[in-house]
Amino acid sequence: MIRVVLPAHLRTLARLDGEAQLQVEGPVTQRSVLDALEARYPMLRGTIRDHVTQQRRPFVRFFACEEDLSHEPLDAQLPGPIATGAEPFMVVGAIAGG
């Protein structure tokens, strides 16, 4: 089971109390995790990545295993502890005013 930690505003939008727990078929990549997340919580479509281009929104970052994976290729394998559920994949709102 893949664990995804969302920022508070997106948890509210998804009506989610804690982590999202997702079943991901095949390779565990940014794309497959986000596809599974949006399939389970369709209201999150467009909030993390663009509807059409699928590009990460500029003020959203992806952290995992104490690394910033935001600029890794979308189809690169995520670290093993993400795939086993030992560590969460974290969607983070960048520190940017507001």
């Binding site: 505003h9 209201m43 003020f59």
Partner: protein
């Protein structure tokens, strides 16, 4: 007894203010969508408990929220706003061409006849429509594809379509306004559009009476007198008596003709309200006095309405969508400020009192008159 429901959009959430017809004691509900910018929310004229809200954030983009119980509960609906075809480019601040990019929904205008149909004015400027209660949105691209489109340029707030006026007497007619392109009208339900800016004079553009390029801030029309339009432009208060074909200035004795908001009395189509702002760089009232100005003559002759409003050391702004009227027998007038106050007058502007004083900066105010 009738009731009123005031829908307030702010920088950090939405608030719903309700009162009975006396409009003396108010209940405050909110913040809804705490932490998100709520540019606008508005109810359907045919199903008043159906509300739509534009929720956005610099981090997470645009959401559209819908309520079917007058704002008690909300559901997120569609948020996919994709320009029709190749989006093309418009003029950027430095004069270069810049790709059309969706940023947010500034204004939601529910249909006058169908609760599931809503028009959305967006940044970068375009008009979208849903016919399924907000689930999906389609661009009425005839406006953006107008031949003048590549010359449109953003105002300080972005290239935004912020005003949508529907005409109950002529369903195929829609008025829109864009900063900083000007006002436009369609007479065929959005297929084709024409600029309606003749008579506007703007010293901030190379050709002051150009066909497009004017920074129109807001347009209001009384439903009983379609074709008569009032406009608050960047500078100048304007009037048209022929559906925008020609405009003439009615700023008259205003202390400043810069401002954002303009609205019309519910029962007196020649009684109009503006809130003069000192200048385009000083976005606060002249002399630190918050004054609504009322004209009972359709412009030119204006009186200051001050009772109950701060008359010293007041340096707030009143934004374009932040004024509205109710339709009770004694017309109520409402406006919100960037200082977080929402003021109400239950007597057409003669006296004012704050409903709330300490909200986040107010972006929009709409009012529903309920049975």
């Amino acid at each position: 007894m009738s009731r009123v429901r005031v829908l307030v959009g702010t920088r950090k959430g939405a608030f719903v203010l309700t009162a009975d017809g006396k409009r003396e004691r108010w209940e405050v509900s909110g913040p809804h969508f705490a932490g998100w910018e709520i540019y606008h929310l508005k109810g359907s004229p045919v199903a008043p408990d159906r509300l739509y809200a534009s929720q956005s954030s610099g981090w997470f983009g645009q959401m559209i929220q819908r309520s079917d119980d007058g704002g008690k509960t909300w559901d997120s609906v569609g948020n996919e706003f994709v320009y029709d075809g190749v989006a093309g480019t418009h003029q950027w601040y430095d004069g270069t061409q810049h790709p059309w990019e969706f940023a947010r929904v500034w204004h939601l205008e529910p249909s006058l006849t169908d609760a599931d149909t809503v028009y959305a004015g967006v940044e970068d400027a375009a008009l979208f429509r849903t016919v399924d209660g907000g689930r999906t949105w389609q661009e009425l691209s005839g406006l953006r594809r107008h031949t003048s489109g590549p010359s449109w340029q953003p105002g300080a707030g972005g290239l935004c379509l912020h005003t949508i006026v529907l005409d109950a007497s002529r369903p195929e007619r829609i008025f829109t306004a864009i900063s900083a392109a000007g006002a436009f009208r369609t007479d065929d339900a959005g297929e084709t559009w024409q600029p309606i800016n003749r008579g506007l004079q703007s010293q901030t553009i190379p050709d002051p009476d150009a066909e497009v390029g004017h920074c129109v801030h807001h347009v209001a029309m009384h439903p009983s007198r379609p074709g008569v339009l009032f406009m608050q432009k960047h500078w100048d208060v304007m009037r048209s008596d022929d559906a925008g074909n020609a405009w003439h200035e009615v700023s008259g004795n205003l202390p400043s003709d810069f401002g954002f908001a303009i609205d019309i009395h519910a029962h007196e189509p020649d009684t109009i309200y503006v809130v003069p702002i000192k200048s385009d760089s000083e976005h606060f009232p002249p002399d630190g006095k918050l004054r609504v100005y009322r004209s009972r003559t359709g412009g030119n002759e204006w009186e200051a309405l001050t009772e109950g409003l701060p008359q010293s050391d007041c340096y707030v702004n009143v934004l374009r969508d932040a004024m509205a009227v109710d339709s009770l027998d004694s017309c109520g007038v409402y406006f919100g400020t960037t200082g977080g106050q929402v003021y109400a007058s239950a007597n057409g502007g003669d006296t004012w009192a704050p409903i709330v004083r300490d909200l986040p900066a107010v972006l929009s105010v709409e009012v529903q008159t309920l049975p």
